[in-house]
């Protein structure tokens, strides 16, 4: 327990996304190159400049009983669905301390969201204005607080080692997983349920992101709108959902005979120090994060065969990331299959790091890299810097130990890179 450099592995996965209501259907959609983007047909969308989004494939109220659902923000509903799947996938049927073979004092939860309970906040403000003070729901505060999803997931599994919520915009989900890895590595916990969630498809965030010129306005072709690395990319498409993984110390996983999907090698973190929303165009901050990853772990660039890129489909950001990969990894970049899965899921903001960690872990487990769809005319600057997997999924090396990265960057200049690797035994 006193060890401060323990190996961390992934033993469970769960997701609910625009491609499917669980990790398996999401993975199937990713490998098939299916788009989860569609038109926004809600009445409020009519006068928006952006009228497309990647909405959840399975409404959470179809899965969560109504009395429970009505006291959870949509972002917490997504997180609970994904966490429940991941917890069961890791082999647990009960809460810690109530049958599951886990010490609750050694179990943590770290679930992040970029924006928190924004739909609850705005809906309840509407209630206040239209119906008065007395009608504001007494559940409003626990529903809107950004730590609501992590607290609810902590309660679901019975976590007492610590429940945390890092917030760093679109890097939040990845930062949560990085935080969880450190909790285990440094001996604070044996198991941590970690990931990201977001539910921000609402007229205000859509109007606000739209007015920042950050989102695609390709309303006539929803499925073709999210097109990372294509010369015609014009911004991201907002997505919603959650991705959660169960992280565990390798010893703990071995002791209970758990299936190991991958090793969670570690993380590299940095801040751009450049601008509140614009990415640093040469990717210096991202390079710094990648270098930190190499300095802080035993990862060998020769092992890295796949990168689940941040690639939101914005003109500047997509290229800055590829430049950083080339700068830090040099010729090793040539054997990295780079995938922009936001071309299919849309951008889940704080949920992205969670969902894309699930995708990265499954890419290693199945040794297949998902495609980047909608790349009709590859940006020459992308081609010059990286090997983008276009159109169809690509097989990864069938033998040997392979590693993959999941990049996430957020408004505010936050850069988080996570590294996963096939386990030694498998």
């Amino acid at each position: 327990m006193s060890s401060t450099n323990r190996t961390v592995v992934v033993t469970g996965i769960g997701a609910t996304t625009p491609l499917g209501g669980d990790a398996a259907s999401t993975w199937e959609g990713l490998i098939a190159g299916r788009s989860g983007v569609g038109p926004l047909e809600q009445e409020w969308a009519a006068d928006q400049a952006v009228r497309i989004a990647a909405q959840i494939a399975v409404e959470p109220t179809e899965v969560i009983p109504r009395p429970q659902a009505r006291r959870l923000d949509r972002s917490a509903q997504f997180a609970l669905i994904a966490a429940k799947e991941a917890w069961a996938d890791a082999g647990f049927t009960d809460r810690a301390g109530e049958g599951a073979d886990v010490d609750p004092d050694r179990l943590g939860a770290v679930i992040a969201s970029g924006i928190g309970g924004v739909t609850t906040l705005l809906d309840q403000y509407d209630v206040l204005k239209e119906k008065g003070v007395r009608r504001v729901s007494p559940h409003t505060v626990p529903m809107l607080m950004p730590n609501g999803p992590s607290a609810n997931v902590g309660l679901l599994v019975g976590a007492r080692a610590g429940v945390h919520t890092p917030v760093s915009a679109c890097a939040s989900g990845a930062e949560a997983i990085g935080y969880a890895i450190e909790m285990i590595r440094t001996g604070r916990a044996d198991i941590v349920v970690a990931g990201g969630t977001e539910a921000a498809i609402h007229p205000l965030p859509i109007a606000a992101f739209g007015n920042m010129m950050a989102m695609s306005k390709n309303n006539d072709d929803p499925q073709g709108a999210s097109r990372p690395y294509d010369v015609g990319r014009d911004g991201f498409v907002l997505g919603e959902g959650a991705g959660v993984i169960v992280l565990e110390s390798a010893e703990h996983a071995a002791r209970r005979g758990a299936r190991v999907y991958a090793e969670a090698v570690g993380q590299g973190i940095s801040a751009d120090g450049h601008d509140i929303v614009q990415p640093e165009p040469e990717g210096r901050g991202i390079s710094h994060a990648l270098q930190n990853l190499l300095d802080n772990t035993d990862l060998d660039p020769a092992e890295i065969v796949h990168v689940n890129a941040h690639a939101t489909s914005t003109p500047a950001g997509d290229i800055a990331e590829l430049k950083a990969l080339r700068k830090v990894f040099g010729d090793d970049t040539d054997h990295m299959a780079v995938s922009g899965t936001k071309s299919m899921t849309g951008h889940l903001l704080g949920g992205a790091g969670g969902v894309e960690s699930v995708a990265t872990v499954l890419a290693l487990y199945h040794r297949v890299a998902p495609p980047t769809i909608n790349v009709e005319n590859l940006d020459p600057e992308a081609e010059a810097n990286a090997d983008v997997v276009r159109g169809e999924a690509r097989k990864l090396p069938v033998e040997g130990r392979i590693a993959a990265l999941n990049d996430s960057f957020g408004f505010g200049g936050h850069n988080v890179v996570l590294a996963f690797r096939t386990p030694l035994c498998g």
Partner: protein
């Protein structure tokens, strides 16, 4: 027109069903909101607000703590409804 005791119990049963998911037939006069009907303190506020609307009655926060059972609430509403 004021609601009868039966109407109030039926109305509370609908409200508790909506908020806590308890079957309406389980909502009886002797049932405790907290111990029997899965209504915690926050949900009790929701029950009270819904009952105020439905039965045109004001239930001040100070009185809510005395409403332990469906019978307590029914009696309160019978006495105070407009």
């Amino acid at each position: 027109m004021a609601a009868t005791q039966e109407e109030i119990v039926a109305g509370l049963a609908d409200i508790v069903n909506e908020i806590a998911g308890i079957p309406v037939e389980d909502v009886q006069l002797d049932k405790s909101f907290t111990d029997d009907l899965d209504v915690d303190s926050l949900s009790m506020v929701e029950v009270v607000v819904a009952a105020e609307e439905r039965f045109d009655v004001k239930i001040p926060d100070d009185d809510v703590k005395n409403l332990k059972t469906v019978g307590d609430a029914t009696e309160y509403i019978l006495k105070h409804q407009a």
